[in-house]
Symmetry: none
Subunit: 422 residues, 2 copies
């Protein structure tokens, strides 16, 4: 079955608020096995809303509207939907009693227009709203099921979960399930090239790639009668993707971020970690520390923005800074070595670069970054060239540092495994 | 003129991501004086995208599409737009050269499908993309102006600001001008209460408030024949708002962020600054260091996540940690005092808190945060109660720290001015 979302509200059209209801409803509907092809935002305007709803009921099985159920004159979603679905508005006794109680329990008087909220399309299924005064309603006929929900997320979400999901589940048996393979250290185009034959041949399950800073997410989605059958369709494709992506795969768990994967790797190998940051100024530590439970491996870190701080806190040699400059392979390496020693940490990551917009030269342009990673004294230094504004360069640097940390740790242990070191 | 937004992406229809591009574009378009009546989300499907775009160009003067400009087969916005606007796709030499350089500077090879990004609708105006490989394009005819932008926000935003705004400004005689009064340390409802009569009576100029983490932006927008006339309308209202908001106003300059305002205040008063962070783990330093030129005032900082790091690096007393705990007014104060001494810095900010999801107790719940700010040895400690997930709490903490720094510095100098200290 197909579903379509219509979010009603001038504040959305003006960009005053971000449309989180659409993301919430879309994700829930995908999970219910519904195909969503359109989301529309319209203002509180009867004609445009009516036209949008008319188009929607023609092309979709279920239409979910949010917003415009309030008591004011602006709120006209119910009136428009009743007209489009050819229903009269009649007073609903239960809704009227609910509104009476709602205000009585708050010791306030309803205003005249609050009673508007007790008027309901004839034959509609009323959805109670324990978190506000506007009930929801479902109006169904042979062409479509039209679901009207209030706009505030804390009213919409429980109403959707308590009433709309059971209603939809009865309409169509079957589920949609998906799994994401997350890879890093490889670009989206390269991923697609490696998976091209799988992408071309897709039907059920389907496969889609999503580029994120420093990583790519590959999502596999299947439709089936039940969760178990869907999983069965997904499993072999995920296995194939993992085998093609090799070491680039850092997780197949939806909840695991790149920083979480790095922290998990540190925890699993009983390694402590520390960072010394120049151009990123704390963002790398900040991202690692976003992982709950990082305290097992991360104890302290340094922001060494000035040359003096690099010398004083990390022991970078004055001669190195003078000869090669603060943004150099040599300085990055000395930062990492000094950091490992001062913080007594197994893994030490040092970052230095030109984040711009000032400070670039022909020899060392804006975007030039060196990252050094020491794993038990074995130091790898990488040179990067990023583009974008100061913030983008710094965020790209943080992602690159996480990718480098992961590969250095894996490399270190694979060398142990293959007997190159004891 | 009317504008309409079409955001293209299956990930939006599946609810994988929240549509922040729509909110951004809607806000910018409102600021340009355009009326936006529709926003639509469609997937990477040629037929549905074509139908949506056909309807849009019929009813709106400007249609802005975002997403689907990437190198993969899924990406077909450009192909569909070219067809709807009746244009051939031809290779654009500049775009091809740009892609060549982009990959050469990264020492990687473009894949075959990257060249697709150099194919452009004939007669289109190419919009350069310094932050990615997909250029944007504007295709215009008698019926509509169709603007194609890449989906990633860090590519879309600078492209919109650098190329699309000037383009739109040329389409309509008369100008819309706006100015934003940015305030901090005061909530949105309080701001609205203080400005209610101005909000009620608005016509030209108009006034709108936007809540951001830790701050509120009050935007004044005027329509007039020329920039000068628009400025003339805006000026008295901005003056009135500034007088009502008092010290909460940190800037009226669109480009100035809260961290930039704090850094400017430090520079103006010749104060050095440093941070010691526990739960925020470097994000506060990271945000200050996002200000270009911060090196004048920021030299070094510390991430003191473990108790040992707080003791060793900042000299927090063992007895304080044992008696009051790491998340306490006392620990925050000792962190700030120790930090000011060790970093020899005029301003020293220390942050400690329970960011969750674990680690909360009845006495010290998740969201409890202490921030201490020392200005030349004068220490202020504030207690905060934030809600949300780990990341939200940490970001709210960073914003609160910036607000506290600003007010402590202002307070310190106002006391000097009023002779309370020399």
């Amino acid at each position: 079955m197909t579903v379509e979302l219509i979010c009603v509200g001038t504040e959305l059209l003006l960009g005053n608020i971000v449309n989180t209801n659409a993301a919430y409803l879309a994700e829930k509907c995908a999970g219910l096995g519904l195909s969503c092809y359109y989301q529309t935002v319209v203002g509180d305007n009867a004609q445009r809303l009516a036209e949008t709803l008319q188009a929607a009921v023609k092309r979709s099985d279920i239409v979910i509207l949010s917003g415009g159920l309030g008591p004011t004159e602006d709120d006209l979603t119910k009136e428009v939907a009743a007209k489009v679905m050819d229903r009269e508005l009649v007073e609903d006794a239960v809704s009227r009693a609910y509104i009476e109680n709602y205000f009585a329990s708050r010791n306030t008087e309803p205003t005249e227009n609050n009673w508007k909220q007790a008027m309901m399309p004839q034959g509609g299924i009323i959805l109670p709203n324990p978190n506000g005064t506007a009930p929801g309603v479902i109006i169904a006929d042979d062409t479509a099921h039209v679901v009207l929900l209030p706009g505030p997320p804390h009213e919409l979400k429980p109403m959707f979960e308590n009433y709309v999901i059971p209603y939809i589940n009865k309409l169509e048996p079957g589920v949609i399930s998906s799994q994401t393979v997350k890879v890093c250290g490889i670009g989206e185009s390269r991923v697609e090239t490696l998976l091209q034959d799988l992408i071309d041949g897709q039907e059920n399950p389907t496969l889609a790639t999503y580029a994120k800073p420093g990583e790519v997410h590959i999502r596999v989605t299947a439709k089936a009668e039940g969760e178990k059958e869907a999983r069965k369709l997904i499993k072999p494709l995920v296995k194939e993707i993992k085998s093609r992506m090799g070491n680039h795969v850092y997780t197949t768990d939806e909840e695991v971020t790149l920083e979480k994967a790095v922290v998990d790797l540190l925890v699993a190998n009983e390694l402590t970690v520390t960072c010394a940051e120049s151009c990123t100024g704390g963002l790398l530590s900040g991202r690692l520390i976003n992982v709950s439970g990082v305290s097992q491996v991360y104890k302290s870190g340094y922001v060494t923005y000035s040359n003096k701080a690099k010398r004083k806190l990390l022991g970078v040699k004055k001669s190195t800074l003078e000869k090669h400059g603060a943004v150099s392979r040599q300085t990055a390496e000395e930062m990492a070595r000094g950091l490992a020693a001062v913080a007594k940490s197994d893994v030490a990551v040092a970052v230095t670069g030109v984040a711009g917009p000032d400070g670039g030269t022909e020899e060392k342009p804006v975007g030039l970054v060196y990252i050094a990673c020491s794993v038990k004294g074995e130091v790898t230094v990488q040179e990067y060239h990023f583009s974008g504004n100061r913030q983008i360069i710094r965020e790209a640097t943080v992602s690159a540092a996480l990718v480098l940390m992961r590969s250095c740790i894996l490399e270190y242990f694979s060398e142990i495994t293959f007997g190159k070191k004891k």
